[in-house]
Symmetry: C2
Subunit: 411 residues, 2 copies
């Protein structure tokens, strides 16, 4: 479909599905090009800044602060709020859940990922996920309301226990933040609160498996010092309405059970082509599935030169989104396509107040306060939107320097 | 019941029902007295700063910012989260909804008010109230989601219309803020948004009836200039699922129908004694119903020397809460009780950005930017809690100076 916009030049219609890091990076680079008209489709009218989702889940930040409105983000980009239900590759048309359809010349799939349950019994029903604002809201409600219900003797004391599955950055950040929240809540529920515990389970041999072993070590020691019961080589085999059962036969009883054990691409899209074990669509060196469909971010399975499949993290998505925008423009000007190359800028995870790990190069790793300040600065820098940045900065000043009461509303 | 707290002195147990302006003012003044132990009961664990509720309803402030946690507010005060279902005056015992009971020596009722429907057909079912966080959340959702649903052709264009019933400060503030929100949303929904309208209905002859006619005039003119359709002498006789019907036979079709036409005390408490038309309990010169029950704030019907019954506003509640605390302490030290006297500190209402009316004395009234700055400063000063104050201040700097996107999440 060639869209005409008043002027004489026919524009190619690029439809980007997903307003996450990858989709927005692509839209941003394409929006001013005279050769394209860009439509962005997402089920939510906001970009979720998921690296800070754990702070919403632990009652530190208000949820709006990590939701950046996309309708007004780029004036040249048309936004459609919808869920995509099908792709007709023959006729280059998307079907939307609202019954409408959307024709494209080029399609960029930036559909992200969802929590991986690995088919373990009870996980979908009896654990809380950590992917959406609604998920974070559920966790926050569970964490806070349980204290009231235990005090009112509606729930038994053991419900104050929290268990988190998954020792990656999300699990580590949650465990640290929940431990700090529990300490803060002691002032409010003096009789029951000391009974609360946090357990962090990792199926593999160490926390932060993608980091250097020294960072793993630091995370483990730091969390233990904060009172978190860290267990490695602890594989979950079943979730029940009140506990998690482990492979070694033990059972952990907890009122709040959070599942952060990894992500997979949404299974909805696997019909499009070859996929890997994480439902990710295998793409060529340019990130293409075919001549008119590109895949970026968590939904793309892309092996770099060393044969390693790139991890499902925001920096990969951002670089891939930009890459696809560049290739679309090169193609328009009849230039040869370039292969995608990932520039690894390192990784980091926060553990608690003034405690983090940062790895920039194999020879440049650091931990503790400096790492934590680096984490703060980089997250502020990457937040889209001046308002959210200021608002979060103000909240952080209070949270970390002044230490004032947590956010309260739980219904 | 005389409670002993480890030490030898028996303390009188004061139970305060309601953690609003009146209840908290009373608790604050009593908490450090060696003669009393104080228990505060409320269905919510936070004080709602209702003067700013309209900013939550219009997507300016996050809801947590106007909810001040009471559990940690005063360490000496015991907090019980519960709904009170009955008072046994004989045995000086409250029944709570959770099945428990609570004995008191002195009871302070600070139970506030709720929206008054005046028995008008359909109001309870087909209009949105403006008293709780949940109410504000509903209004915000209705205001924002309607644009998406109209764009998706799920709802007709007329649903973008908003009608507000009640020309008091709440109605005026809402009308102004919604008009500003609608203007802001035009950037996001360019095709449909210009169709949106706001209508403000007042049954009496002028807006802000408790203010000087010049202030009413200013509010009316200012709102009209902002595009609000202001109608006075417009009495509603019925609310339907899509409209409001007026006494003059006309009908106003609107997707968002907000009821801010006045408040009454909760009918639950009228069995306790003589009440006025607004369900308020008639109290003596000291604010007592009997020797052990005191009533303050919106729930109390108190006539001052001139015979005028005091209005249901925060300053009255605060002064009455303090007064009761003072009388309880005087009685303990065998001093004679004092009568309550209200010191009128004036009133104010904001209309929009840089537009407000302030009346401090009959000879000291002003409007416009200076009034608006006075409004900002006084609201910040009255907010409990440093965190909320800072957070709101940061948000206001953005809202009023930088003008950035509204808050986004609507589900």
């Amino acid at each position: 479909m060639l869209v005409e916009f008043g002027d004489k030049t026919p524009k190619r219609h690029v439809v980007i599905v997903g307003a996450g890091f990858g989709g927005l990076a692509c839209a941003k680079k394409l929006r001013r090009s005279p050769s394209f008209s860009v439509t962005l489709v997402d089920r939510n009218p906001y970009q979720l800044f998921s690296p800070l989702l754990y702070q919403v889940a632990t009652a530190s930040l208000p949820e709006d602060d990590i939701a950046f409105p996309v309708r007004t983000a780029y004036r040249e980009v048309q936004f459609v709020r919808a869920e995509v239900t099908n792709v007709d590759m023959q006729n280059k048309t998307l079907s939307l859940q609202n019954g409408k359809s959307l024709a494209y010349d080029d399609l960029v799939l930036a559909v992200g990922s969802e929590g991986a349950t690995f088919g373990i019994a009870g996980v979908a029903e009896h654990t809380l996920q950590m992917k959406s604002v609604q998920d974070a809201r559920e966790i926050r409600r569970s964490l806070l309301r349980t204290y009231e219900d235990v005090e009112d003797e509606i729930l038994p004391l053991e419900n104050l226990n929290v268990v988190i599955v998954g020792g990656g950055p999300t699990g580590v950040e949650l465990a640290g933040a929940i431990s700090e929240l529990q300490r803060e809540i002691r002032r409010e529920f003096e009789h029951i609160a000391p009974q609360a515990s946090v357990t962090l389970l990792e199926a593999g041999p160490r926390l932060l498996p993608s980091f250097h072993p020294r960072s793993s070590n630091y995370a483990n020691k730091t969390l233990r010092r904060m009172g978190v019961d860290v267990r490695v080589d602890a594989a979950v085999i079943e979730a029940t309405p009140r506990s998690l059962r482990l492979k070694d036969g033990s059972e952990i009883v907890a009122g709040t059970r959070i599942w952060a054990a990894g992500v997979v691409a949404p299974p909805t899209w696997t019909f499009l082509g070859d996929t890997d074990r994480a439902n990710r669509i295998k793409v060529d060196a340019h990130l293409r599935l075919n001549d008119s469909i590109w895949v970026v971010g968590d939904a793309a399975s892309f092996g770099d030169k060393t044969g390693r499949t790139l991890p499902m993290i925001a920096p990969v998505a951002i670089q891939q989104g930009k890459h696809v925008a560049r290739q679309l423009r090169r193609r328009e000007s009849k230039q040869a396509l370039e292969g995608f190359e990932y520039r690894d800028k390192g990784q980091m995870a926060t553990i608690g107040r003034r405690k983090a790990v940062v790895e920039i190069r194999s020879w440049l790793r650091f931990q503790g306060s400096l790492a934590w300040l680096t984490w703060l600065a980089l997250h502020l820098a990457y937040l889209s939107g001046g308002r959210n940045r200021t608002s979060i900065f103000a909240d952080w000043v209070w949270n970390y320097i002044v230490w004032t009461p947590r956010r309260t509303i739980t219904d």
